[in-house]
Symmetry: C2
Subunit: 670 residues, 2 copies
């Protein structure tokens, strides 16, 4: 008889490995398969995201067809078909039948899928709930026929199991189709497949998406642009993002002959000068074999890396949407709402978070059919994928709620939380690594760097809204006043002069005294040829003025724009240009023209003008310079303003002022 | 020269497997390692949770020591030591150095850790941020010395790497100690190790926890009970929780000779009668070999399972805390706040969610030093582990916010969201499978069954609060009135009688007319021996009364209680008993005594009395019967009430009334 097992032996005997498929099968709520409604959405989402990624990699304008059909009482059949490059026969089982298997995890560039979990999880869920295999049809260009595989997942081993296999003729050069039968429920409205596809269409204006609903309704989202987004490039990791353990591990595994070559070739951002400095500070010679560097030296090396300024990680690994396409995408989908104002979209310059580059983009739409008594609609996106769940637990929502929107013209209880008003806010975060809070990829984790950029992007968009709202009010008022003066005053003068038999006097001093404003107006573009947007600045004040004009326009349009007269300064990264205008006597004007190539769809609304050198109260059609521009005004402007006794508009109190002094951000916390 | 690769080949060549360790290393925010503060908390949490699980399995009262010490500028050393059974040498590397490896995933019973991820993730994070191995010391009873291993994780393969190994004498029979050096930051206050240990102490009153903070401060949470919680038992899965794919898979893998034996022995809840019914409905004979049942029959079998009522999954796989220990745990830790009221804690009967049993428990504390102008403090727990993050995204928070607390005496803006008041609410969910929203185990996913139980538990606790608040007000008022009447009236009568030279009249009719109340009061227990709580019901109304008395008391104390007189009915599961009291003439009383064994610590506060047969306005010291009791009142009580023209108090409007008609729950949605 074997001796009785001790407690420790007994406990040890129960230890065993858990397969990742088993784990997620049991915890399917983590992957977004909690209930039949959400399971459907997650399945559609994972399949469409994969299709979009594949099309972009193959440089094909995506054509994606989604069909959802009833299949018994509580089951649906989901079909997603794309015109992507197709998948080689030998890879099909692994791609669809194995969790944690994929091509994008190690690539270090922006993509929708990264984890190699999503679509396999859908296959897992389908098999679990209906015991039916998933059918995959895929054709690559170089083969005549499509491979058709039916497969399921062996959860205990996390390996694909091919149930049947066939060849099929398919009348498209290449593409992939997946068909799953799963326990699911179709709904419309919030958190539905329609909502997801609508969001996807907004941030992927180059895609054409169709959806066939179970009741036969067909919904199509057509392209808003025929241009593919630039393909994000892979780049080696940036040293700022390396933790000590990771650096150590990479050094040990490196095949480069010297640590110097390791740093310049297996990391990004390390130039020859930085390398020299790093080597010197870390007490190395630079010729050491990477795998043989002792632990303490690795620590010193990493410390040195953080002391030396490096080139920021390349933004080429990212594929932001860009201000123009954000606006066009919103217009394409929001047509029926007829908003009164599409704010110029904001695309912040790329920043870095733990060695990974990221970009924040913000769009804002106001008025029209948007409900005025509801919280604003917040559309959240990560790497061009809509986030439909967990809004409350997302860093984007936190950033929106932390801004005091009352300053920008929206209602907001107590100055925090989602503001109320006829407004839709779009926020897109693009990064080589999105910090999702869970595998279901529904919310972003809090992060100080990310929050800073979100806040800046939202503030910029909010400022556009404020400008629009105050301009609307004041322009209406000034226009009314102006119309009266310009109509009545000359008539009055003519009549009076006639009565007294004297010549009609110069009305300028009188008009300017009554108006007492500087008037800025951009003319609608003339048709054909390149678009020229002429902005006229008129001094209707009784005093001569030296004004500084500032322009902000979409950053992606800035490089193609030409200006007349030439600006005195520009900042292409932020899409800004500025001019010291010639001295304007009362009732005189000058014109600044911005010219963009035809087809760029820049509109007068996309140009934001700011003026320094005149009191805010006397300015119509432009705003005083915001405080965060941090521009030194020319002496002439300052002197003229001082002479007039009109203070130059200063930074708004409490405004975040990150740009002015990067790294010493200071948000007031009222 | 090899032919150029096609696009599909090129894409295929990039496909590869992702190790689960790599995945979590890159997505460490998912596991709760976003930043140095949270990384510390997660590390302490995972180590302590494991220690508690181990001690319970070994039936040892846990003694857990946590030490956090500075180790350079941005590093901390974390030490967690327990008196558990220890771990066999051969299992140490896998337990600490491999993700998805553990003993509790397949056990189907309540435990803190289940996934086999937590502590290995801490080892992974420590290695990643400091490149230092983790040191594990463990001794099992049957060996003389402790094994000391230093280990790290090979992330690419998700396997442990033992760096060094030694033996050490350790002066305890058995136990485990883990020491990690990690990039971390120590804070106090919310979401800190102290907060986590305080919460742990509340729901684990049998544990002794000590914490040594980096500045040398030592905090101790002593035991509130010397009794170990019952060890949850493993049980086979309940068929209600099986999806089709899972059932199919289990049948295929079964070694039982017949499907009948499979159902009764590899599933729980299927008795002989239910088996017969299931077999009949599914068109099988019951003698089929499980692995050979065709797909369609499996579908029919599962459909049949859902049509036949089965015994609910056993609650023996759970280890709820119990009403008494919740209260004792709260008292043990909240001592310095001196709350005015500890509500009798609520322990709902076990329910089932997708085949997995679960229990909801609610504790509520009111007044004293708790801040009156803040939202209530919500302490969330799952399987005896405090949940400190993601409060906003948790089903518990949703349930608390969905209740209209204004009905129960707390402020609440608009009747939803966290109420405001000097109140602390504890919610504990115990289950064999907790639906966490992510691997960090910080929030529960929404689920209708869970929500229903949470709502019922919270309502029960809220009712106790309401009773307390209204009783406090009315008792104060009645006591004042009573004192005056009882003091002044006899004096007045004596004086008047003396003056007119007549005998003092019987004051009863006058007193009862002025008081016009039924008074219920429970006397404080007398010391020594079993505790007898005598409740006196006095009819101070001018009318004879037939009253029905209802008692609700902690369910875990109910079985030991004896009653005098014997109740007319009881419901042990809900801890309820009721009596039709003898007819009470004006100014007469009767006494009902509840007796519990010594040491059970039942207090007068733990007994809730409800009365039917008298108008709510005439009732002091007890409440009218809540609407959800669904008890048929004896004819005598109804008749007496009708005679008096006093309606029997009905269910409060809008109250959830699940119990009355199980399964047809109906919450009004105002």
């Amino acid at each position: 008889m074997a001796p009785a097992r001790t407690l420790a032996q007994e406990l040890a005997s129960r230890q065993r490995e858990i397969s990742v498929a088993e784990f997620f099968e049991r915890n399917r709520q983590i992957l977004g398969f909690d209930n039949p409604t959400r399971a459907l959405l997650t399945t559609v989402k994972e399949a469409v995201d994969n299709a979009l990624d594949a099309c972009e990699e193959a440089r094909v304008l995506p054509e994606i067809r989604v069909e959802i059909a009833k299949e018994g009482t509580d089951r649906l059949k989901v079909l997603v078909e794309d015109n992507g490059p197709g998948i080689l026969r030998k890879e099909i089982p692994n791609v669809f039948g194995r969790l944690l298997y994929g091509s994008r995890f190690h690539a270090n560039r922006q993509s929708r899928g990264q984890q190699g979990i999503g679509i396999s999880a859908a296959v897992l869920y389908a098999g679990l709930t209906t015991a039916r295999p998933t059918r995959v049809t895929s054709k690559v260009q170089e083969e005549e026929a499509a491979h058709v595989l039916e497969l399921s997942i062996d959860t205990q081993r996390n390996l694909p199991r091919v149930v049947s296999e066939d060849l099929e003729l398919w009348d498209r050069p290449s593409g992939t189709r997946i068909e799953l039968i799963l326990k699911a429920k179709y709904i419309r409205g919030r958190q539905s497949p329609t909502e997801y596809l609508r969001g996807t269409a907004i941030v992927n204006p180059h895609a054409r998406l169709t959806l066939l609903e179970p009741d036969g309704t067909k919904i199509t989202y057509d392209r808003a642009t025929g241009e593919l987004p630039a393909l994000p490039k892979e780049s080696p990791p940036h040293p700022y993002g390396l933790e000590l353990g990771e650096l150590d591990y990479r050094l040990k595994g490196s095949k480069r002959p010297t640590v110097g070559q390791f740093l310049t070739q297996e990391c990004s951002g390390v130039g020859p000068r930085a390398l020299k400095e790093i080597i010197a500070r870390s007490g190395l010679t630079g010729r050491e074999v990477p795998s043989k560097i002792p632990g303490e030296s690795v620590e010193k090396l990493l410390a040195a890396v953080h002391e030396v300024p490096l080139v920021a990680p390349s933004a080429e690994s990212l594929s932001p949407i860009g201000p123009m396409l954000i606006k066009r995408g919103l217009k394409n989908v929001l047509g029926e709402v007829r908003p009164e104002f599409y704010a110029p979209a904001v695309s912040r310059p790329p920043k870095v978070r733990g060695g990974f580059p990221f970009v924040v983009e913000v769009g804002l739409v106001y008025g029209g059919g948007l409900p005025a008594d509801q919280p604003v609609q917040l559309l959240r996106f990560a790497n061009r994928v809509p986030l439909l769940f967990q809004q409350g637990a997302c860093a984007i929502t936190t950033a929106v709620g932390a801004l005091d929107w009352r300053r920008y013209g929206l209602d907001q209880k107590g100055g925090n939380g989602l503001p109320v008003g006829p407004c839709l806010i779009l926020v897109h975060v693009a990064s080589t690594k999105i910090p999702f809070t869970s595998e279901a990829k529904e919310a972003l984790a809090e992060d100080p760097e990310l929050d800073k950029e979100l806040t800046l992007g939202l503030q910029a968009a909010a400022r556009h809204l404020k400008v629009h709202l105050s301009r609307r009010t004041r322009r209406d008022y000034a226009a009314e006043k102006f119309a009266i003066i310009q109509k009545i005053l000359p008539k009055l003068a003519a009549k009076t002069s006639g009565l007294v038999g004297k010549p009609v006097p110069d009305l300028t001093p009188i008009i300017t005294r009554i108006m007492d404003i500087v008037h800025v107006e951009t003319a609608a573009p003339t048709g054909g040829g390149p678009i020229a947007l002429a902005t006229t600045i008129t001094n209707y004040t009784p005093r001569a003025r030296v004004l500084e004009l500032f322009l902000e326009m979409p950053t992606d349009q800035f490089p193609q724009a030409s200006f007349d007269p030439a600006p005195d300064g520009t900042d292409a990264e932020l899409g800004r240009a500025w001019w010291t205008l010639p001295k304007l006597s009362p009732n005189t004007r000058c014109v600044v023209t911005v010219q963009v190539p035809k087809g760029s769809e820049v509109e007068a609304d996309d140009l934001e003008f700011y003026i320094a050198g005149v009191d805010e109260a006397r300015l119509i059609g432009a705003e005083p310079l915001p405080g965060d521009w941090d521009v030194r005004l020319p002496r002439a402007v300052i002197e003229a303003a001082e002479e007039a006794g009109e203070p130059i508009a200063a930074a708004e109190e409490g405004e975040v002022d990150y740009d002015a002094e990067e790294g010493k951000a200071d948000v007031d916390d009222d």
